[in-house]
């Protein structure tokens, strides 16, 4: 009862109240959302973070306790976590504080650089893996080459404005058809899943167990 039925009733009831909010302009339907729901969801909002912090702390303390390979680095992760948080509480979170310094000079460069590694991998893959093995793959590669040339100034300098026009045509016509076909499939799929949740048929989000 408390484990599954009540949460399920909550989803279905709230779900239909939300349907009402969308379709019924009456004050009661609107107040449900603007007056009641907003305050409640706001009061719930900070607590999801506790789960994230506990989860990271548990994962790393377990690694340290069990002395798994490279466990020493887990100490670093925990120091990073708690020192950054403490610096925000002690010195504040405004511009010019140690908290902001850590973020700008440690988090930002690392985050940006980690993703920039992908440029090297895509160059290596271009050399070693992108092969015109079939007619379909050839179409894909040729389209990609045209788009790559049409986006950069040098492509237009070499091949003239025609390459930019051709790129724009590819994006506006065959690409549009392709992405719309896929988007309609995804759109219908997501509506179907939402509808299954709303009607209480889909329950996997409640997790396993009783």
């Amino acid at each position: 009862m408390f484990k599954k039925t009540i949460p399920l009733i909550m989803v279905v009831t709230l779900g239909f109240l939300f349907v009402g909010f969308v379709f019924i302009p009456h004050k009661i339907a609107q107040d449900f959302y603007y007056v009641w729901f907003v305050d409640w969801i706001r009061a719930m909002s900070p607590f999801g973070l506790i789960l994230g912090i506990m989860s990271i702390t548990l994962a790393h303390t377990t690694r340290i306790r069990r002395k798994t390979p490279n466990w020493q680095y887990s100490i670093l992760a925990l120091v990073g976590l708690y020192f950054t948080a403490a610096s925000g509480f002690i010195w504040g979170t405004q511009e010019g504080t140690p908290y902001m310094w850590i973020f700008k000079n440690i988090q930002v460069p690392m985050s940006a650089t980690m993703f920039s590694l992908l440029a090297f991998y895509i160059a290596s893959a271009a050399y070693k893996a992108f092969r015109a093995r079939s007619a379909e793959a050839t179409v894909l590669l040729i389209t990609a080459l045209i788009v790559m040339l049409g986006q950069v100034p040098i492509g237009i300098s070499i091949f003239g404005e025609g390459i930019a026009t051709l790129t724009q045509w590819i994006l506006d016509v065959p690409n549009l058809a392709s992405k719309r076909g896929i988007a309609l499939g995804v759109g219908l799929g997501s509506v179907a899943v939402s509808l299954r949740i709303l009607l209480g048929i889909e329950r996997t989000y409640l997790g396993g167990g009783e």
């Binding site: 907003v38 700008k104 930002v108 040098i154």
Partner: protein, 335 residues
Amino acid sequence: MDKNNNIFQKIQQLDRRYIYIILAVAIILPLIFPYNSKTYTTKPAENIYRMIDSFAPVFPEGATEEEKDAIAMAHDKAVMLAFWHDASTMSELFPMELSIIRHCFERRIKFFTFTIFATSAPIIDMAINEVKKSDPEKYGNKKSGEDYVNFGYKVSSLLLPIIFGMGEDISDAMDIDAEGRKVSSLPIMTNIKNYNDMNLVIDFSASSAGTYWIYYARPRFGVNVAVGVTAVMAADTYPQLQTGQFIGMLAGMKGAAEYEKLVDVFASTQREFSSEILRNEAEPIISGDTNLPYPFRQARIGMNAQSIAHILIIVFILIGNVGFFVQKHLQKNDN
């Protein structure tokens, strides 16, 4: 196996680290030795520019600075810039944000910023400060709460309440700004109530996050939505561009370069948008007679490096495929 086969095999088995070095050099050189190149603007970028520009207050001829201040403050149009990305995609999205902020400052258009990612919150400050710092004489006096306001970080579970709430009352939905001030008490909110006044939202993200606005805000409140996306997401955005759900799009560093150009050519010289001028006027980004600070031409100089890197990648693809086909042909002959 014959000699030819060995060469092509060797080409295919080249150590990836050599490829990395070649790519790095191809990017570093054009950045150290920048050159002028022409940026071709596209309709989706021009549409964003023109809509933002249409929000600018009109000043009577001969108005004093004080009068202009009063008119700008009372103006009932504003733009929302939603920074929904972290530092990982800053290279593509940050120059767009700088250019749009610069556009708003130049044309005295009120703008708001907010994010649902904790790690984006300082990026908003960085963008605003970078623009102010780059030209202190022009933008140094822009004030938070008067010319713009940063609503800061809002927990992501509050996204829908915020999107819907702004349809009723922005001050109420946002509640407090990044500096902890009550939004309703800020002078910038004079005559700005909801989406009727803040009629353009530009969402910067590395995902399809812009669809939140067209699912939840546009059908109900009729707000105009535009996106600044990473190039990875750009091709997927065309269905929504065609239907007009997105009024415009900036795609990756190229989109940022386009907007940089538009702001340089029109907003910074207080001229109206004109395709004619765009087509015919020269666009110096590095010559001696331009004193443009680096952040305002960062994307266009970046596009020089992008040009060389694209040619390199195309050469890589061609070499790899020639090696593949020659080897395949030789193997077929051997059999």
